[in-house]
């Protein structure tokens, strides 16, 4: 597996270097710096092979993280691990920056010692790690506490510790969906999909078993087969949605989902991502963007963009932002918009039009006159797509939470005593219209 792990700043100076295997020498640190960080060309691949040594790297902000190996390792595991490692680190000390890495280097070494052994990833669950890697010196824990720690690190339910108690048992469910769209200038949908996730915050006592129900077509159909009621199947036929694929947090019993289509789990304490899913059918697109671009001679361009909201009039969309790219040789822009505020941002080569709120079934437009400098570069401007950001209070895929039941047999609270909150948020992913 991994032979070593290095963290560099943007200049290529080493901040952390941990070597796990004998076949990785100090020269590997320099090889990566010279061949990748200092390479003049843009990096063409996240995996680089230098002298029979493979480097996997991830760059976040100004920090380079590189994993090194000489073996034929599982590449997806390495990247997943690096991402997970960044997650663990940021849950310990916030943003991954040069300063934070330097400030916490002892902690990072301690973490690296724990989460990688001989290059093999071990338990990386933040909640569990925080129970015994603290940087506070070892608390002289009692024998019971020690064995509790070790059984959690290695245990079947490695993500939750025993003996959690809350006075008020409460849980929050956020259904967050990202709508992705690519539309042709003529308004034809080239591709559209929703990437959704269910984030759960649980404040529950004991070791509760949860059952989660959604309006997934397969699940609903399976239910129908059992119930056999035709009346119900008609009703559900309308409200159920077709989920292309879904993935679950490691607490969910996958074999049970496969056989019984039921989502059951013992949740970690606090916030976690319960499931991720993807749909492509019957997506209600909250906004439609209609662009009109006219090039008037060589020094002038006229752009008109209309946005239409396409959801129930009683709902309100927020944080709407339309970004219209402008040519590099733009010298001036005149803007007229009916609603919100628009600004030409020369540094970003774009017109940014912001609207705070907008109701459903409304329409708004912006027109811009763009003056261009005459240039002799023959290179054509490629017209990047117009992109859009927004947030709406519903799930564009039609996803619905049907129930979330909590069972805790050992403690004396029942499903009815748990306070539950559900919220739906639809956000823009890559929401682009070509022009």
């Amino acid at each position: 597996m991994l032979g070593g792990l290095f963290i560099y700043n943007h200049k290529g100076e080493v901040l952390i270097s941990r070597v796990y295997r004998d076949d990785i020498g100090r020269n590997a640190v320099d090889a990566f710096r010279v061949n990748v960080i200092h390479a003049r060309q843009q990096v063409r691949s996240p995996v680089t092979n230098i002298a029979r040594t493979s480097f996997f790297h991830i760059k976040r902000a100004n920090i380079w993280v590189a994993a090194v190996t000489k073996q034929n390792v599982n590449a997806s595991q390495v990247f997943e691990f690096l991402l997970k490692m960044l997650e663990v680190m940021s849950s310990y000390f916030g943003k991954i920056s040069e300063e934070n890495v330097k400030n916490n280097f002892v902690l990072i070494y301690e973490l690296l010692d724990e989460i990688l052994d001989f290059g093999y990833p071990q338990n990386t669950d933040t909640g569990v790690l925080k129970t015994f890697i603290t940087q506070q010196g070892i608390k002289t824990a009692s024998k019971e506490e020690q064995s509790q720690i070790t059984s959690q690190v290695t245990g079947q339910i490695g993500w939750r510790r025993e003996g959690i108690k809350y006075r008020r048992n409460e849980l929050f469910l956020d259904v967050i969906e990202y709508v992705n769209l690519l539309m042709s200038p003529q308004g034809q949908v080239l591709s559209a999909h929703v990437a959704g996730k269910v984030v759960m915050k649980s404040y529950l006592s004991g070791m509760p078993e949860c059952k989660f129900g959604i309006n997934d077509k397969i699940v609903m159909d399976a239910k129908m087969d059992v119930a056999g009621s035709s009346d119900e199947s008609q009703r559900s036929g309308k409200t159920s949605i077709a989920i292309d694929d879904c993935q679950f947090h490691q607490c969910v019993k996958l074999s049970k989902f496969e056989t019984e289509h039921s989502i059951s789990f013992v949740p970690p304490d606090g916030e976690f991502e319960l499931m991720r899913y993807r749909t492509t059918k019957d997506i209600s697109l909250p906004f439609r963007v209609i662009p009109l671009v006219r090039e008037v001679g060589r020094t002038k361009m006229e752009v008109k963009v209309v946005i239409k909201s396409n959801f129930k009039p009683s709902l309100l969309a927020q944080k709407i932002e339309v970004r219209i790219p402008t040519p590099l040789n733009t010298s001036g822009v005149q803007l007229i918009c009916m609603k919100g505020k628009a600004k030409y941002k020369a540094s970003e080569n774009a017109i940014v039009w912001k609207i705070k709120r907008m109701g459903g079934m409304k329409e708004s437009q912006i027109s811009a006159e763009i003056e261009l400098l005459q240039t002799d570069t023959k290179k054509k401007w490629t017209r990047p797509p117009i992109s859009m950001n927004f947030e709406v209070p519903f799930a564009p895929s039609g996803f619905k939470v049907r129930y979330l039941k909590v069972f805790e047999s050992k403690l004396n609270y029942s499903d009815h005593d748990v306070i539950k909150w559900v919220r739906y948020i639809g956000r823009s992913g890559l929401y682009e219209t070509r022009c």
């Binding site: 010692d113 245990g155 591709s191 679950f248 070509r434």
Partner: protein, 933 residues
């Protein structure tokens, strides 16, 4: 308090200062000092001088300090082995600590200190820790065994750690099981014996599959990767494993998903390909693969490289998912390029319209590489989907109108290919192409354009002017362009001899008199001579019809693809290279997909034959070269891979043989032949002489099948290879005709054969005397011996050949006729024959009909005898002649046959019996060939 201050000390005398701080009485000060030491170590300063002082800090009850000291130790112990011994006592003591975290820490660290003396002390604590009551200590100890194996493999075996590790596979704690699996897998791969240490049997499988449901995400990956190396005994077992693995496809971790995909792809090979189960499984595979495309870009990249392999293996899997591979504006460039590749693979008549409009969009982007690839992709679509060709060509024309320099050039290069695929269809666009002549500045584009002008000179009115314009700067052009220009002008002259005489003379003199380039000069001279002696012949040569180009040019060669499928998710699948190409030293056994038991054998045989008739050149050559060339050096000549998957009969075929072959025939001659030289039959002296004088010693001419084209010129970059095999007087030889159809001389020939069923290997290097001039051909005979490494091929007589020359390395496969393995000493004693015939079970008997034989029994017998098929006895039963014959193969296998010849009937019946029935088909083909010779 922050730690960053430790990075800033750059004073002189720092080491001295640290030393005093490390020896301070105050705990806090000590800890600060150790932190400073670690910070210096991180940035690459040498702080090894502080070794004793740091080790002194080891005995502390502060866990944080202890960890820091351990970190230091792991880094420097190797450079100070004697002093590292000082630490041993503390380690051993810590392994007994009541706190499990400290026990584990000690055993974990000790395993990382690669000092022999310390390793000795490691054994006892490790043994205890493997049995520790705490699972955390056990899981750490499990990995420690792999560490120890890396330092001292024999110690691990001697001390019985392997057995202890295997016991951990049944541990109650899932994480212990997972780490034990990881550890065993690593030891397996590094093991020198090549024998798997961990036999995955049904019971262990069950345990692993249970642990799979319970352990951490990383543990699941270890287990799945290990499971993928298991070979289920039958289809049912494979199905039940698949059923238990399928739920993993819904895991949030991409590594778990991809490893599960690997297992499923591999086990699916064992099932009937059109069964309901496989159909369901393929349906389940597609969505998780698509979902991987919404992960982080780096994970996406790995997923895309794998999907590229998967769609080559199972093209139907994602055929409806084209849209998800559309490129997003903000994708990193490496994701964009990979998506583009997959789009081309998935392009079909059903989706070509969408694909084309996307590709056209991409061709206007910024990144030059990406744009070029997009333009090239449009050309590939035209060649792949015939119905779309017209649309593609018009798209390319649109792109040419944009006048973006590199787009135009790339478009012209692909249009040349389109012309070659669909001749006489799109030539109307030539005028548009000609307009862009001035903007072309890259050699490839210039050469393509010149080729087009020359090829269609009769349709371009001003072809002479256009070509003349290139002539002005002839000597500044790239060789590629010069050669094309020369040929194009000659073509033009042959098509329009009246007004271009001056031009052709000009170019010929430029090429022959003013050029230093031998290739160019030679080609010039050849044209000159051709034109001056026989213009008619020149026309036939220069204007000859060209073969069409192939549809898909960049497919990965099938055996490599199969191997890569076994490595899904790993680096090999990212590089698209076998592990041996980038991993040093032993790389373990090559993996191969299990052979399907389901599919009907006839079909697969038919496929195979087709493949052999069109030997394939591997397009992605650089990836294979190290592999093929290293193969024989690295791998031990034992019978490798998947052997256990085959029946006992096969083992017999592969085993032994070689020794008896060499020894046996040597003894008969009375002197043992030198190793590597094939045995010579008793009649050798006469035979050899006869051979030299071109007379064959036997009464009938020795059969040798007619030469076949093994490597057509268009695949061999101009080198055409035809060849056959023969056996004369106990010497097997490969008779090759090398024909240089390229425009430049070829030199530096060398040959290498892949491991094969009969251990065929060159007995001498390939000897091609002089450089092979253009249009010259040469006959070479390569003597072969059967002492090479043996690997079962399918079909048995398949032989993979690599030929190297000054141009490149080429790979192709061919089938060896079985008769070259028939030994001279194959005449069996009558009684032995009889008892052997009875001994071989009757299910091993195979019957064939040989048609159109107009010979009597004696004629047949004589003819067969010359190819070492010996008639033992002849009987006449009810008017039919029965011939009983024996054959001995070079690997010691005996084949007994019975021929039924009816006078007046041209069909004779061949029944044959052998302990290894796999050879039957080959023997039949040999009979058929010899008798029709």
């Amino acid at each position: 308090m922050t730690d960053s201050k430790y990075f800033t000390t750059t004073k002189k005398g720092e080491i001295f200062e640290l030393k005093s701080e490390l020896n301070s009485d105050k705990k806090e000060k000590k800890k600060e000092a150790v932190k400073k030491v670690i910070a210096s170590m991180t940035v690459g300063k040498d702080v090894s001088a502080l070794f004793p002082d740091v080790v002194n800090c080891m005995q502390t009850d502060n866990l944080e300090l202890k960890k820091l000291v351990y970190l230091y130790l792991m880094n420097y112990a190797k450079s100070q082995p004697d002093m590292a011994i000082m630490a041993v006592n503390t380690f051993v003591k810590d392994c007994e600590d009541p706190n499990p975290l400290i026990r584990a820490l000690a055993v974990r660290t000790m395993g990382c200190i690669r000092v022999d003396k310390i390793t000795e002390y490691l054994c006892e604590p490790l043994r205890k820790c493997l049995k520790d009551e705490d699972p955390y200590v056990r899981k750490t100890a499990a990995i420690c065994v792999a560490k120890l194996h890396d330092i001292n493999a024999s110690m691990v075996e001697d001390q019985g750690f392997l057995d202890q590790l295997k016991e951990l596979l049944s541990d109650s704690n899932p994480m212990v099981v997972a780490n034990a699996v990881a550890s065993l897998t690593e030891i397996n791969e590094a093991s020198s014996s090549g024998q798997p240490l961990m036999e995955l049997n049904a019971a262990t499988m069950n345990k692993l599959l249970t642990a799979l449901n319970e352990c951490t995400e990383w543990g699941q990956v270890f287990i799945l990767d290990a499971l993928s190396q298991y070979s289920p005994k039958d289809e049912r077992e494979a199905q039940s494993i698949c059923e238990r693995i399928t739920p993993r496809l819904a895991h949030a971790n991409a590594a778990v998903v991809l490893s599960a995909v690997k297992c499923l792809m591999k086990f699916m090979e064992l099932m009937v390909s059109d069964s309901e189960f496989v159909k369901n499984l393929t349906k389940k595979l597609a969505p998780p693969l698509v979902t991987l495309l919404s992960s982080e870009p780096e994970v996406q990249y790995v997923a895309l490289r794998n999907i590229n392999l998967i769609v080559q293996k199972r093209p139907d899997l994602l055929k409806h998912e084209m849209k998800v591979f559309f490129v997003k504006y903000n994708d990193p460039i490496y994701v964009k390029l990979e998506k583009l590749d997959i789009m081309i693979r998935l392009a079909s008549e059903a989706n070509i319209v969408q694909v084309l409009s996307e590709l056209k969009e991409y061709a206007t982007e910024v990144d030059v590489d990406f744009v070029r690839k997009a333009v090239r992709a449009i050309g590939r679509c035209a060649i792949k989907v015939e119905t779309s060709a017209e649309r593609c060509v018009s798209t390319l024309l649109d792109l040419i109108q944009t006048k973006v320099n590199y787009v135009v050039q790339e478009a012209i290069v692909v249009i040349k290919d389109i012309f070659r695929k669909y001749p006489n269809k799109y030539e109307s666009i030539i005028s548009t192409l000609c307009e862009n002549l001035d903007t072309l500045d890259e050699p490839e584009a210039r050469a393509s354009m010149i080729w087009i002008i020359g090829e269609y000179a009769e349709r371009i009115d001003n072809a002479d002017e256009l070509l003349e314009s290139f002539l002005e700067g002839f000597h500044d052009e790239n060789t590629q362009v010069q050669l094309q220009l020369l040929t194009a002008i000659v073509k033009l002259f042959l098509k329009r001899p009246t007004d271009t005489q001056e031009l052709v003379q000009q170019v010929l003199s430029l090429a022959t008199q003013d050029s230093d380039n031998p290739d160019l000069r030679d080609r010039g001279f050849i044209y000159w001579r051709l034109l001056s002696t026989d213009p008619g012949a020149a026309k036939e040569v220069v204007l000859a019809e060209k073969p069409l180009i192939a549809e898909e040019t960049d497919l990965i060669e099938p055996t490599l693809l199969d191997e890569l499928i076994c490595h899904i998710a790993s680096l090999a699948s990212v590089y698209h290279k076998p592990p041996s190409a980038f991993v040093e030293g032993r790389t373990g056994l090559r993996r191969a997909l299990p052979k399907s038991s389901g599919g009907s054998d006839n079909d697969s045989a038919g496929d195979q034959q087709q493949q052999q008739q069109q030997p394939t050149v591997i397009p992605n050559q650089d990836s294979l070269i190290p592999d093929l060339l290293n193969m024989d050096i690295n791998a031990p000549p034992v019978v490798p891979t998947a052997q256990s998957a085959f029946s006992g009969g096969t083992l017999d075929l592969l085993g032994g043989g070689l020794d008896s072959l060499l020894g046996g025939s040597g003894a008969e001659v009375g002197s043992s032949p030198a190793p590597g030289i094939p045995p010579v039959a008793p009649s050798s002296t006469a035979g050899l002489l006869g051979d030299i004088f071109g007379i064959t010693s036997s009464s009938a001419p020795v059969y040798s099948p007619p030469k076949q084209i093994w490597l057509p010129a268009n695949r061999g970059k101009g080198m055409e290879i035809t060849g056959t095999f023969s056996r004369k007087n106990g010497v097997i030889s490969m008779d090759l005709t090398l024909h240089n159809k390229a425009m430049q001389p070829i030199t530096g020939f060398a040959i290498q054969l892949n491991k094969n069923s009969f251990g065929i290997t060159p007995a001498a290097p390939l000897n091609v005397p002089a450089p092979l001039a253009p249009n010259q051909s040469i006959d070479v005979s390569l003597i072969l011996s059967t002492s090479g490494p043996v690997q079962r091929m399918d079909p048995l007589t398949n032989l993979q050949v690599a030929i190297k020359n000054s141009v490149d390395v080429f790979y192709f496969a061919t089938v060896m006729p079985m008769h070259i393995f028939f030994c001279e000493d194959g005449a069996m004693d009558k009684r032995v024959f009889l008892s052997t015939w009875k001994d071989i079970p009757s299910q091993n008997e195979v019957q064939f009909n040989i048609e159109n034989i107009n010979m009597n029994a004696d004629g047949i017998s004589n003819k067969l005898q010359s190819s070492n098929i010996f008639t033992i006895a002849k009987r006449n039963v009810e008017g039919q002649d029965m011939l009983y014959q024996s054959i001995k193969l070079t690997n010691g296998i005996w084949v007994l046959t019975e021929l039924k010849v009816q006078p007046g009937n041209t069909t004779i019946v061949l029944s044959l019996k052998s302990r290894a029935t796999d050879v039957a088909q080959g023997i039949f083909e040999a009979f058929d060939g010899i008798l029709h010779f």
